[in-house]
Symmetry: C2
């Protein structure tokens, strides 16, 4: 019983419910999810869900906090590192973000769409509100290109990592692309993004 990542069988009931909740909530969103769906997915009874988590909302709050931390957690340690160059940071962010989302493909759409109507979730996000604007990363961007808002680069960088996942169903449909090809493409992207951002930073 060494491995306990996957085998539903040796998880505690509480963890089975959380695991099911992760799956269903991220796939369908809060509103479209029924507690019955989660119970079924977890292979337990509906009553147990309320026994362990009191309510749908409380359970959701737990999952949402988890996901928010995953989603934004990649950034925090990198942004403020004074020991790395700008190019270095870009490379790290692209690589880590793409790996993260390859393993959690529903993450970006889930977080962004749940955030739409519940800005409350921001509370579970960050201690200080200026972790981005007052970061080394932004300062480095500003120094390199004082003529362009640093946020322009920042948003473009994140967009290059995440937007393909948001468009994934569209993309695979209109380009008749298999899952395998999509994944290949995202791995290529890890190398492309540093090259592209470098070119963007120089472009006049």
């Amino acid at each position: 019983m060494a491995r306990k990542e996957k085998g539903d069988i040796d998880l505690s009931t509480e963890e089975k419910i959380k695991e099911a909740a992760r799956k269903v909530f991220t796939k369908k969103g809060y509103a479209a999810t029924r507690t019955r769906d989660i119970a079924e997915e977890a292979g337990i009874n509906l009553a147990l869900l309320n026994y362990y988590f009191r309510s749908k909302e409380k359970l959701f709050e737990i999952i949402m906090t988890e996901k928010m931390q995953k989603y934004f957690g990649v950034l925090a340690p990198v942004l403020d590192d004074t020991a790395t160059t700008l190019e270095n940071k870009i490379e790290t962010i692209a690589s880590k973000y793409i790996d993260l989302v390859l393993e959690n493909p529903e993450l970006p759409l889930f977080v962004l769409s749940e955030l739409r109507n519940n800005p409350i979730h921001f509370l579970s996000l960050t201690p200080k509100t200026d972790f981005l604007t007052n970061s080394e990363f932004i300062r480095q961007l500003q120094k390199k290109r004082p003529d362009i808002r640093p946020l322009h680069f920042f948003v473009s960088l994140l967009g290059m990592c995440l937007f393909p996942f948001l468009m994934r169903p569209v993309l695979q449909k209109v380009a008749n692309m298999k899952d395998k090809t999509f994944i290949e493409m995202m791995l290529e992207r890890k190398k492309l993004i540093p090259v592209w951002t470098k070119a963007m930073l120089k472009a006049k």
Copy 2:
């Protein structure tokens, strides 16, 4: 009574309901929307909604089709224009998309999140399935950079236009940005995107 775009007052009941449905559906998504919300927003009775549109789902289908066409309608006429250069197409797409989404800020997140669980909506999208892969735009990209999948550029272009809107609440929160500033930024982007994509196309 010349103007009829805005004044709720001289719209037909049917149009009032559709207008309300556009607003509520795009803001909250299908599952989180209650027909009561739409009725109230339209200033009419709940029963009238079913009188005119039979069901919540039918009404949604109408709005969704509309939005899909807006969302993808920008692309079709540009992609296959053999009379314009690649640079030209990029500029046009960036400019048109940003203008469109500035006027319909909820559009991208709405379309992408509703598409997540209902690939059925693709039906209302396009006549031929290869309108992208077999387009002049893709051919031009391929000619310029045969060493890189054209889709990499395509996705990045769309991402640069649309991703800022998807991240908008996050962005405005962490950067403490006012609506006005965000809009300014998106207008700047119309000029930045052609410059950046040009640099990306050259980068080795």
